[in-house]
């Protein structure tokens, strides 16, 4: 029983991390049809700069972590908005060029990060409590999982509130459904594109800082590693569906944890098989719109 509880809660923690990356990917694809392969770079640069600022302010404390998170969110939002404004905006409806540019940006930034921070992981400090465990139903749960879950829930709630309560949210929801009709109502939908990139970048930025807490290090490949699973989550959840991304994040991460434990470390393989199964049985994903 305690093993199951441990696997479920640690799975939820990992799922929270996947969601922070996948939420932006899903919104960006849903509104703009852009598969953003550079999304992992937003996460990585946020993690590095968040860590750099946080450790200078107060290394290994809650205050330092809070500063890291705020800096990570801001860096993620700014870098993502600049990427949309300077690179992606000229390439809407040109999917191959978009893919080439975002893949290129991803590879170039990894090389850049390695040039600045080196190729080896840099181990990070975190508040003592996050390194401890809490006993739940006989299972010792690492405390950092609770932080990840709480942050992901806050982000999910914040994005849902934004989408439901604001005019920009209304435009984004309508744009995900039928972008050209939004334009035909007299709305400059491109303004929303930058905003959605910034929101996605902010979530990825927070994810970057939290990933450094989860893994205990920052590295140039932090984002690219998580991006693979975030894409899987986005496809399984249904491209463009925030709710689908949330559900799929949990399903994929929990499945991964169970497979790693019970099937000899085959979590990654099982997740890929799950992706294939979903694509075969339900190509639009769990909650994606019909093409």
């Amino acid at each position: 029983m305690s093993t199951v509880v441990l696997l479920v809660i640690t799975g939820l923690g990992l799922g929270a991390l996947y969601f922070l990356v996948a939420s932006g990917l899903s919104l960006i694809y849903g509104l703009m049809g852009v598969l953003n392969f550079a999304h992992g770079s937003f996460l990585t640069i946020s993690a590095f700069i968040g860590w750099e600022v946080g450790r200078r302010v107060s290394d290994g404390t809650w205050w330092g972590l809070a500063v890291s998170a705020l800096v990570g969110i801001a860096v993620g939002a700014i870098v993502a908005a600049l990427t949309e404004y300077l690179l992606i905006r000229r390439l809407y409806e040109r999917h191959i060029e978009q893919a080439l540019v975002t893949v290129g940006l991803s590879l170039a930034t990894i090389a850049l990060f390695e040039g600045i921070w080196g190729t080896d992981p840099i181990y990070t400090e975190k508040p003592d409590w996050l390194g401890q465990t809490t006993m739940i139903l006989g299972a010792k749960i690492p405390n950092d999982r609770f932080l990840l879950i709480a942050c992901a829930l806050l982000v999910l709630g914040g994005i849902v509130l934004f989408l439901r309560r604001t005019r920009y949210g209304l435009i984004i929801r309508a744009g995900v459904e039928n972008r050209s009709m939004v334009t035909a109502l007299g709305i400059d939908v491109r303004r929303s594109f930058t905003l959605v990139f910034a929101i996605g970048g902010a979530a990825a930025g927070l994810g970057g800082v939290l990933a450094s807490v989860y893994y205990g290090y920052v590295s140039a490949h932090l984002g690219s590693t998580l991006l693979i699973f975030a894409f899987i989550v986005t496809v399984i959840g249904g491209l463009g569906s925030l709710t689908g991304a949330a559900i799929a994040s949990v399903l994929v991460a929990v499945l991964q944890q169970f497979a790693n434990f019970y099937l000899g470390g085959t979590g990654d393989l099982v997740v890929v098989i799950a992706l294939a199964a979903v694509l075969l049985v339900r190509p639009r994903g769990l909650m994606g719109k019909v093409a």
Binding site: A174, S180, M181, T183, L185, D188
Partner: protein, 257 residues
């Protein structure tokens, strides 16, 4: 001395449109007067919808489009609409995941939306404001689509096949709403239903093969059975019905399909 005629609200000159590199509208020129309903007619596939979409910049186009004398053909779609062009697309295109109220709120272009007017014109959808538009019937969705255009003050309405696929009773309701709207704003109407055209149109522009082949008063075309057959490829049941003592409600759908 006669007063000078009012300038047209819309002038289209040498308009061509392309979809995926294929020419779908070819050198089309016509004008829409500042009052009344101008019907854009033609057989299926001649480019009526593409002409409307070209005017709005929703597809690649070349040529001149003037709104009250001002060039709008180089503007992006949202700027054209912001200048006071209301658009009711073919197939409704309501946002199915949004509620009726959200569909209307999204369409409001300024802080003076005509909500009372919409509530009076479409009481049924006003009562369904909290319902998701995707769960409405086709007729109700058409009302939402019309309401989205009419919630703003417009200089011109572009209405594309508003009665397509609707039951005869709903066709009459849509036609009545369009008639009400046309009292205050000029309209370019793409329509297949001759009964509706006869009820609403003052002038007609007929397209064939992507080009304009007839422009004139609606009565001139609709009174000529041979022209109707030649240009539109249909038999005008209403025309017959006017001369038929047995005329009954079953002909209201027209015979354009």
């Amino acid at each position: 001395m006669n007063a000078a005629p009012a300038p047209p609200v819309l002038a289209v000159r040498g308009l061509s449109g392309r979809i995926a590199g294929q020419q779908v509208v070819e050198d089309v020129s016509f004008e829409v007067p500042a009052t009344g309903v101008t019907a854009l007619l033609g057989r299926n596939g001649v480019g009526k919808t593409s002409t409307i979409r070209s005017i709005l910049g929703l597809i690649d186009r070349s040529g001149e489009v003037l709104l009250e004398g001002e060039r709008i053909d180089r503007l992006p779609t949202h700027r054209i609409v912001q200048r006071g062009v209301g658009y009711v697309p073919e197939d409704r295109e309501v946002f199915g995941s949004l509620t009726v109220a959200e569909n209307l709120r999204l369409a409001e272009r300024d802080d003076r939306p005509r909500r009372e007017f919409i509530a009076e014109l479409f009481p049924d959808i006003h009562d369904r404001r909290a319902q998701r538009a995707g769960t409405l019937s086709g007729g109700q969705q058409q009302m939402v689509s019309l309401a989205r255009a009419l919630v703003n003050e417009n200089r011109l309405l572009l209405v594309d096949e508003p009665t397509k696929g609707l039951a005869p009773k709903i066709v009459d309701e849509v036609a009545a709403a369009l008639g009400e709207a046309a009292r205050t704003v000029p309209m370019l109407l793409v329509e297949q239903n001759l009964h509706v055209i006869r009820a609403l149109a003052d002038r007609v522009v007929v397209l064939s093969g992507g080009r304009v082949v007839f422009t004139g008063e609606a009565a001139e075309l609709l009174g000529d059975e041979d022209r109707i057959k030649r240009y539109l490829g249909v038999h005008d049941a209403d025309h017959d019905a006017d001369h038929d003592a047995d005329h009954h409600a079953g002909t209201t759908e027209g015979s354009t399909r």
